[in-house]
């Protein structure tokens, strides 16, 4: 399977090892991984801010870049959701684009979903020992139905014990630009999430979206919690244990 990896702007800027972990996982699943070099942003910030024109421009760019890939895999529920759910909505009144868009979006998957349901990864390359709790990122959960897949993959790892937190599916408060427009509310939502994480006593909190993870980690550390690890599921599954 020829898989195009869309690493996402946040991973590119803030935590590249998630991208490398994704490559490792996809290769372990027997995929040939290509990384279109000119990729930048899926267009979601503009789209959610009501700026449709730039969103369409960036969407066209991405569609062109990933043409020729059998699948597009994204280590982010929100970017995968943008491509899979919102690109078709963006171009619904554009007959010249709608076929290309539908072709692309129907082949786009969030990473854990792809590994579990398409590539059917049986043996997890990573090693992790400890307890973890999983936060369900909103777009992954509600737009793409990602919920069972990450847990199924994680429970294949012998050292992992999963403890479910209260309100695992409640929004962490990131919401993209929401986090910098309504910081008070965003931080309060993050605080509740941190409280639920703390109540589990887990060693690590894991999720599939770096936006959520930065938000949760930011609040954890400000609360004085320096110990709870904050990890992307790719990092856990691929076993990149080194502190970056």
């Amino acid at each position: 399977m020829r898989v195009g990896l869309f690493v996402t702007c946040l991973v590119d800027l803030m935590r590249p090892k998630i991208g490398f972990a994704a490559i490792r996982l996809l290769e372990a699943a027997g995929c040939e991984v290509v990384i279109p070099a000119t990729q930048t942003c899926c267009g979601q910030p503009g789209y959610n801010s009501g700026e449709q024109t730039s969103a369409k421009t960036l969407a066209r760019k991405l569609i062109g870049e990933f043409d020729g890939c059998e699948y597009i895999v994204v280590p982010s529920g929100s970017c995968a959701g943008m491509i899979r759910v919102h690109y078709p909505a963006l171009f619904k009144d554009d007959p010249s684009m709608i076929d290309a868009v539908n072709r692309l979006s129907s082949r786009t998957y969030e990473l854990a979903d792809f590994l579990a349901n398409v590539a059917k990864l049986k043996s997890i390359p990573g090693r992790f020992s400890g307890s973890l709790t999983y936060h369900d990122s909103c777009s992954g959960l509600r737009e793409l139905g990602v919920q069972a897949q990450p847990r199924a993959l994680l429970s294949k790892m012998p050292g992992v014990s999963i403890t479910e937190m209260r309100e695992a599916t409640t929004c962490c408060g990131f919401g993209g630009t929401f986090s910098v427009k309504f910081g008070d509310i965003s931080a309060a939502m993050a605080d509740k999430k941190c409280e639920h994480v703390a109540q589990t006593g887990a060693d690590a909190i894991v999720a599939g979206d770096l936006g959520c993870l930065l938000n949760i980690e930011g609040r954890l550390r400000r609360r004085g919690d320096m110990n709870t690890r904050v990890l992307h599921i790719a990092e856990v599954l691929a076993g990149d244990e080194r502190e970056g």
Partner: protein, 468 residues
Amino acid sequence: MQVTAMHFKRKAAENLHDEKLQRALERLQTNFVNGRAAANAQLPNFEEIRNAAAEIRRKVTENLDRYLLRFEQEATARGAVVHWAETPDDVNRIVADIARQYGLRKAVKSKSMVSEECALNDHLASQGVEVLETDLGEYILQLAKEPPSHIVAPVVHKSKEDISDLFEKKHRRTRTTQIAELCREAREILRPGFLSADLGISGGNFIIAETGSVLIVTNEGNGRLTTTLPRVHVAITGIEKVVPTLEDVTTLLRLLPRSATGQSITNYVSVLTGTKGKSDTDGAEHFHIILLDNGRSRLLGTELQPMLRCIRCGACMNHCPVYQNVGGHAYGWVYPGPMGSVLTPSFVGLANALDLPQASTFCGECAVVCPVKIPLPDLLRHLRTRQMEQRLRPWQERAALSVWSWMAQRPAVYAVGARIVARLLRLLAGDKKRLRYLIGVSEWTKGRDMPAPAGRTFRDLYKSGKTS
């Protein structure tokens, strides 16, 4: 009701630190969220019923005038008078005229959010008509001179101690904090009002085209008393509340109480048709039904049309993590939470409620729980688009988005920019690996650290042959 939606951010910030409100919101969340889930679980074919309910409401919005005309025809044939009101002022004028026409001085009122849009009580008071709210929550708000903070549970923001204090001051009886006693006290105070009122004012949860009926749902019994005892009944509702048949309203009634409070059915469902006739011993002699537009018809034919499906259950706000944290008063008008964030800008003007469509993470839970499948996040996004088109956003926001978009279209420039930012942030963080302050994003850093980036971008690392 006066619009204070433009103060959302400030009020939200205050409410976040209001311990009492936070506890009240937790109670609301626990009861209504769990209640709805348990109630819907009792319906093995819940999704099928939900699809049917959504289709009924969707179909109505597509043919609103036809159903309204049929309703008017049937209601009039049964002796009711149907009035059409474009604005809140129209409603107020019509009710005042009715009071004058029949010489009415005392009104009892069961809950009507549409009447809140109109500030009807104040207008009637100025015309010499005394209005007594009879829904316990609305009565409490009338005493406290406060607006509701939720469309179903209007005094969710008050503790029983607050209500005790209020009753002690206003009723001049021995103070009690026992909830059952407070309810008994309200019953005793309000009962004489029911018996002596000459005007009963209600809302209408639905109006039924087939029979020309107004349907109201209550638990307390005040709705029945208001619409049975006084000699004139005025029902006020929005034009979008029409439903085709008795069977259709039955489908909707399966979901409305479950979505709202977790009940399988409200204590009382009253279907009111026409006036007291020869075969009646009670009921109003005169029945006036007022249909209010106030901007609803302008949503038709636009992306916001689905909002008119709303059956006012409140599930969206009960499940909204933003509402759960800031409460209803922050939204600054009649309707809070996700549905309020669509309706308020639509009814009072986009420019008067700029923050409301923005104060959402698009988590999507509202759309998941809406019994009539309104795509609320899409509607909020549409309002954001309108704000952009009308240049209502701060220039800094538009500029930042322009810069971002410009760079993202130019990979070479983008790569350089990202490289610089990654290195800079890493340097600023030092070996703490996080930043406590960062210029330009104080909204983030006032409540959270910013974890430091790795220092090099994925693009650069991959290009240079690294594999981790």
